[in-house]
Amino acid sequence: MKPLQAVLCGLGGQGIVFATKLLAHAARLEGAEVICSEFKGMAQRRASVVSFLKIGDFASASVRRGGADVVICLDASELDQALSYARPGGVCVVNASADDPDVWNRSGPAGVSIRRVDGGTGRSSNLFVLGAAGLMEPETLRRALSEVSPSGALGENLEAFDRGLEAAAGFDGRRDGPGK
């Protein structure tokens, strides 16, 4: 896998920690070195959570603003936060309800493309967004999911992930990560 700096934004309790762990596990299944962050505590009580994931030979998990290749935004209310991390040429994938005109009409900073998906607000909406983000081979992510998902939620998670993949096919069919 080529080096990748990713940021996940959202609210505490939405499964950002899980989503970050899942991506990290998938990248490691592909043989990559990974370093990521996993914040707990006060932020988890519905406050803003920013999680970092770096795939490649990195010494710290920290990503600078304007430095992320991909930003995944699980809650539209954190979109400004999310966009501040994207680099020119990077992609921001945001979960936004189809009836939220503000988000669907927003344009990002210069050079940042925004992919909007409506994954709903359910427990596995984070998996839908990961499916849509197209960060790595779907089979690897499915395998990673089966290894880290809580057993009771695996079926639901896989199903949400596959729906996200279908939604992504509607962008431009790309599966190889962010544009240049």
Partner: protein, 604 residues
């Protein structure tokens, strides 16, 4: 031997266990909590038979681990940086007495701060306490330094501090790991009162011994593997300590710059020979460390040094990747484009839907709207959103501040009502002593102990009332009500805060007791399980009748539940059923009775 993807804290646990620690104590506190949790899992997985303890507070945690080190067992105690303040009395004394078995104090710093009252630097504390301190840059290094800290402590016979920052504690990285062999060493208490019971005359001798030990450690640190010079070019050198090294390394990689870098893992005693040689080959040196200038302050001649003392590095806040990239860019003559500005999120932390604390705070505000509300540290600090938290100083201060407000304001006549709140765990930690003081000094206020039966904010660790030890074995329980009665408080009543009208009435009676000529401190124990551990029962689904809602926002301001959502168009409030936990508390918070139990016909 395989590779495990470990949190920095889990890696520290692994290092402590590999070094043969047999007794490990801790008090929960972000970002340190997962060290003992990881250790408890390893203990169970590999059948190690270690003694692990969630202690009542950090001072007790330190003392229990120190006793193990006194009798020759390797031990560790774990806390967040402000917890070190609580343990400090013991640590400073223990530096003088020394140890027999290795003793590591893991103190986790929180530059930011993300979840703490201060951005204090445990390495500066180590300088003050005169104990060596190691500062890991990555989870992988944290595992190595944890092990080396134990060995260093035993070799030199003094406690050693391990100081990871939150970005190491809460980062994950692959670490080579396999099953661990249990450590078992002979242990015996050897009487030595001139050491273990040293009185001031003997303390002077011990202090001189301590100074000699530190000098021996400093000589060792001159050749410590975690300290390394990375060759480079140019006039400017970088001294990068701990986690800052990781951020610097990535930033230099992105910039394509190669200045010489001195990586330091031994923050105190700093290897001044190594540092001095590095300084002499550079024209200027930028010191990057956080959260404070612990290494910078030890450099005797700082004429070439750029850092916090010169104002080149900010005096507060985290050394973020942005900040480091900017600093390096400017000083290396390769300025980076200004990053997008930091965004202040509109989303603040809030109590969960169904939290018993929310109900209690609502009742408190209603019963005593003009009171002073001293409060404390825990999930319930978020009562600040309901305007029912006026002070948050440190653990246990709600009760001692209430006492101080009473005595200070009482000098001019009757003080306003004072309603202090504290959690069950915080009460055990340090509220007990403060309550005793309040009682015996004749203070008058209401204390509401918010009892959800668990240490919630940090991830549901057991309390002294839980009946479970840190190692999972059963334990005797302590009972808050009996402690309060034992102190001598004559008004102690327990109530379920979901009974909002009942709680309001009880608080009024408590107020009467606090004001009565023969009264005293009145304690109300508001007991309701944490909503994340036990969803509210009975389930009371609610709805809001739009015809009765006049958009006054009272429920949003004083109940403040994430399940209550204001509609942009109408200004009325509705229930977000995806989030609502069916606790029914909001029914009691509407002045026009627009919030009702769903499916129950309205009484005409």
């Amino acid at each position: 031997m395989g590779r495990e993807f470990l949190l920095g804290n889990e890696a520290i646990a692994l290092g402590l266990v590999e070094a043969g620690c047999e007794v490990v104590t801790a008090y929960p506190g972000t970002p340190s909590t997962e060290v003992l949790e990881g250790l408890i899992r390893l203990n169970r997985r590999d059948g190690l038979g270690l003694y692990t303890e969630w202690s009542v507070n950090e001072k007790v945690a330190f003392d229990v681990a120190f006793a193990a080190a006194m009798v020759g067992r390797r031990a560790a105690t774990v806390m967040k940086q402000v917890g070190l303040n609580v343990a400090s009395d013991s640590l400073l004394s223990a530096a003088y007495t020394g140890v027999v078995g290795g003793l590591v104090v893991v103190s986790c710093d929180d530059p930011g701060p993300y979840s703490s009252q201060t951005e204090q630097d445990s390495r500066l504390f180590a300088i003050f306490a005169k104990v060596p301190v190691l500062d890991p840059a990555t989870p992988r290094e944290a595992r190595t330094l944890a092990r080396q800290a134990v060995e260093l402590s035993e070799r030199h016979r003094l406690p050693v501090l391990l100081r990871p920052t939150i970005r190491v504690c809460h980062a994950r990285q692959a670490v080579d790991a396999g099953p661990v062999e249990p450590g078992r060493r002979p242990a015996r208490f050897v009487r030595d009162p001139s050491r273990w019971a040293a009185t001031p005359t003997f303390r002077l001798k011990l202090h001189q011994e301590l100074n000699d030990k530190l000098e021996a450690v400093r000589r060792e640190f001159e050749a410590f593997p975690g300290n390394a010079v990375e060759e480079g070019e140019g006039d400017l050198g970088i001294i990068a300590c701990g986690a800052a090294w990781g951020v610097v390394t990535d930033a230099l990689g992105e910039m394509g710059a190669h200045p010489p870098v001195l990586k330091l893992a031994t923050a105190f005693p700093a290897p001044l020979g190594l540092v001095g040689r590095f300084l002499s080959r550079c024209r200027r040196v930028l010191v990057l460390e956080e959260p404070d200038a612990a290494v910078e302050i030890q450099i005797p001649d700082r004429r070439k040094v750029l850092g916090r003392f010169t104002g080149d590095v900010p005096g507060a806040g985290e050394l973020s990747a942005d900040l480091v990239a900017d600093l390096l860019g400017r000083h290396l003559g390769k300025p980076v484009p200004a990053p997008p500005s930091a965004v202040a999120s509109a989303n603040r932390p809030r109590l969960c839907p169904g939290c018993g604390h929310r109900a209690a705070f609502y009742a408190i505000r209603k019963a005593f709207p003009s009171a002073i509300y001293p409060s404390d540290i825990g999930c319930y600090t978020l009562g600040i959103n309901q305007k029912a938290v006026d002070t948050v100083l440190d653990m246990g201060a709600s009760i001692s501040l209430a006492t101080g407000f009473w005595h200070a304001l009482g000098r001019d006549g009757s003080p306003p009502p004072i309603v202090a709140t504290i959690g069950d765990s915080t009460f055990f930690h340090s509220g007990q002593a403060a309550l005793l003081n309040a009682h015996v000094t004749g203070a008058r206020f209401i204390l509401v102990i918010l009892d959800n039966g668990v240490v919630a904010m940090t991830g549901f660790q057991p309390t002294p009332a839980s009946g479970i030890r840190g190692d999972g074995k059963g334990a005797p329980v302590a009972d808050i009500r009996r402690i309060v009665e034992g102190i001598g408080i004559r008004f102690v009543e327990t109530i379920d805060p979901f009974d909002v009208p009942g709680t309001r009435a009880l608080l009024k009676r408590a107020g009467e007791h606090a004001r009565a000529p023969d009264g005293g401190v009145a304690v109300v124990i508001a007991r309701r399980a944490c909503a994340l551990q036990a969803p509210p029962l009975p389930r009371i689904p609610v709805e809001i009748l739009p015809d009765l809602c006049n958009g006054c926002d009272h429920c949003l301001k004083f109940c403040e539940c994430p399940g209550l959502v204001k509609e942009a168009g109408t200004g009325k409030v509705r229930i977000d059923h995806a989030v609502c936990n069916d606790c029914g508390v909001c029914i009691h918070t509407c002045p026009t009775e627009a919030i009702v139990q769903a499916g129950v016909p309205a009484i005409p």
